[in-house]
């Protein structure tokens, strides 16, 4: 049933090599020391994949296939494919090559400049934007394969696209489209073009499940239909249109602070889209990569959900934090202690152990650099400074780590939740900057709290708690009041995070 695509073994080996290099690229990330080599492996893998594709597919170039059936009739003579076909005359189609190079140059320049200029605090948006491009590229490749199936070697003997290929390309296009529109919404929410608040449509679960079911049914009908050539079958286009819609609908009800899960999930989808297209093209590099990226995103989503003690389904169903916007007002003001930068500086200087807990507010205020300066000054005073990072701090996995790295905080001073949580009882100052829900003891004690069960930092065990917050009016993302504000040992530092830390630094220097 498959067409006779006799793949040159060296081509298959090249794609396999690039797949293996991608595995090594991820493996390198097991420690910062090996990570840069890993990234280079990834680049080499991509180069191999691109060059291999070009030499096997540009008409007239080295390993010359004709329209998809690799090596079946070599242009201008040469041996057949089992013997590593070289074209008799090396006469590549320069127009095609130039067109492709122009496309690469345009995209590459935009990508490279963006990557150089982007602020580290804007990483979540950038990653969301990149996901959307992978998704759209997957859709376009699927469309191109649908329009010119011969070139992709997926035509059956009856002149129709092979049934199995129809399923693969339709799923690839659908996942790509969901990735695209979902990432666009995630980008808009992260970038502030759109409110981070959940948008709740009535009967959204019914609409969403109905649309998903429709996509699957139409894919089945597309696979089963007698004619599946371009212009003969509109089911493929309907599947794509519905998928764009569902991607949009799935993400709008999800609130800003659940974005770490969303961004990871879209990361996973972009991988599955690449894998589906790899099935269509019978390409090992794409399949291996798709599987790697797909599982990577899925694992990150799982880690994020676990760190919030919420199920993946409840995050994806959305709506979290929507109700709390109403309930936050009628509370009576409980007494709290307000401190000044000078008070804070005095206590910090006297401290032996200080643990700094950064959160999204630090990123918003761009306070990471002044914070590191504070850490340096304290270290110069002999204070033991550590940073504690909650898995869901910020807007994407590892967001806080990157910001601290940007500010030159040594990574061996940065600790994960489970590694440092027992140290708060020996800690003189817990310094909370831009975090809130991740230090809320209600997660441990109050069963009715929406964040109950979420693992949190035991800051209440610290001798002194310093809490930088813009004002007392706002509560965390969950909308829950935080008892830490009102503890005896808590000093509220009410100001913009960056300004407050700058003032503390000034006071420390005096």
């Amino acid at each position: 049933m498959e067409p006779t695509v006799t793949v040159n073994p060296w081509v298959a080996v090249a794609y396999l090599a690039s797949g293996v290099l991608f595995i090594l690229a991820l493996r390198g990330l097991s420690s910062p020391a090996t990570s840069r080599t890993g990234n280079r492996f990834g680049m080499i893998g991509m180069l191999i994949a691109v060059v291999t594709t070009l030499v096997t597919h540009v008409p007239g170039s080295l390993l010359n296939p004709t329209q998809g059936t690799l090596c079946s009739h070599p242009v201008g003579g040469g041996t057949n494919c089992h013997g590593f076909t070289y074209a008799a005359a090396f006469a590549p189609d320069w127009t095609t090559i130039v067109e492709i190079l122009i496309a690469i140059a345009i995209g590459g320049t935009i990508g490279f400049i963006t990557a150089r200029k982007i602020q580290m605090t804007a990483m979540p948006q950038l990653v969301a934007a990149f996901h959307s491009l992978v998704g759209l590229a997957a859709v376009l490749v699927a469309v191109a394969a649908f329009l010119n199936p011969g070139a992709f070697g997926i035509l059956g003997a009856d002149g129709n696209i092979l049934t199995v290929s129809r399923i693969e390309m339709s799923l690839g296009a659908a996942i790509g489209a969901i990735t695209f529109s979902g990432s666009v919404i995630a980008f808009a929410k992260l970038n502030g073009n759109m409110s981070g608040a959940p948008i709740i449509l009535p009967a959204r679960h019914v609409i969403n499940l109905g649309t998903l079911a429709a996509i699957l049914v139409l894919t089945g009908m597309f696979a089963a239909s007698a004619h599946a050539g371009p212009g003969e079958n509109n089911l493929f286009w309907i599947v794509i249109a519905l998928s764009f819609a569902i991607g949009f609908l799935l993400i709008i009800p999800i609130g800003g602070a659940d974005m770490p899960v969303v961004v990871s999930m879209l990361n996973s989808y972009s991988g599955w889209a690449a894998a589906a297209m790899g099935f269509t093209l019978h390409n090992t590099a794409m399949i291996i990569t798709g599987a790697l990226v797909g599982s990577s995103g899925a694992i990150l989503s799982y880690i994020m959900c676990r760190a919030m003690n919420r199920s993946f389904i409840s995050v994806i169903a959305g709506g979290f934090g929507a109700a709390s916007a109403v309930g936050g007002e009628a509370k009576e003001q409980r007494p709290y202690k307000r401190g000044s930068a000078e008070d804070a500086a005095f206590l910090l200087k006297e401290a032996e152990n200080v643990i700094i807990i950064p959160g999204y507010g630090m990123a918003v205020a761009q306070a990471q650099h002044v914070l590191r300066e504070m850490g340096d000054i304290l270290k110069a005073h002999g204070v033991n400074v550590k940073y504690a990072i909650h898995p869901v701090a910020g807007r994407m996995p590892g967001h806080m780590n990157v910001l601290l790295a940007e500010a030159n905080v040594p990574y061996d001073e940065v600790f994960e939740l489970e590694d440092i949580n027992h140290e708060f009882s020996q800690c003189d100052v817990a310094f909370i900057i831009g975090a809130n829900d991740v230090v809320n003891p209600a997660a441990k004690t109050d069963k009715s709290s929406p964040i109950y069960g979420m693992p949190v930092f035991d800051v209440e065990k610290a001798k002194t708690i310093m809490f930088i917050k813009r004002s007392m009016s706002g509560v965390g993302y969950s909308g829950v009041d935080n008892d830490v504000f009102y503890l005896d040992q808590t000093m509220m530092l009410l100001a913009d995070a960056k300004k407050m830390v700058e003032e503390i630094n000034k006071a420390l220097a005096d």
Partner: protein
């Protein structure tokens, strides 16, 4: 390749992915996302095939646009990952601003 061979590669690669990703240190989760972003642009292979093929002008154009989009991701993804990882590198030597070495670091 028949469907079953491809499926086998896929399933095994999922397992490889599972174990490799769990070994990634949480501090590098953001670079993990950006590098997976870059490598998932291997979809450019499909885009290149479409761009290089004759037979359908519209297919070729869709392919070229996809090449450009994937290139944004490839160059952008690897570059931004390299930029982030370079920040982790600087941490290996003490920051120049600290005259006194802290005794605290584990």
């Amino acid at each position: 390749m028949d469907f079953i061979s491809i499926l086998s590669i896929f399933v095994l690669a999922c397992f490889v992915g599972y174990y490799v990703v769990w070994s990634v240190t949480p501090a590098l989760h953001t670079p993990l996302m950006s590098v997976t972003n870059a490598i998932s642009s291997v979809i450019v292979v499909g885009a290149l095939i479409a761009s290089a093929a004759a037979g359908s002008a519209s297919s070729k154009w869709f392919g070229l646009v996809a090449v450009a989009l994937a290139s944004v991701n490839i160059f952008g993804g690897f570059a931004v990952t390299a930029r982030m990882l370079a920040m982790y590198k600087k941490k290996e030597r003490p920051a120049p601003k600290t005259p006194v070495e802290s005794q605290g670091a584990k």
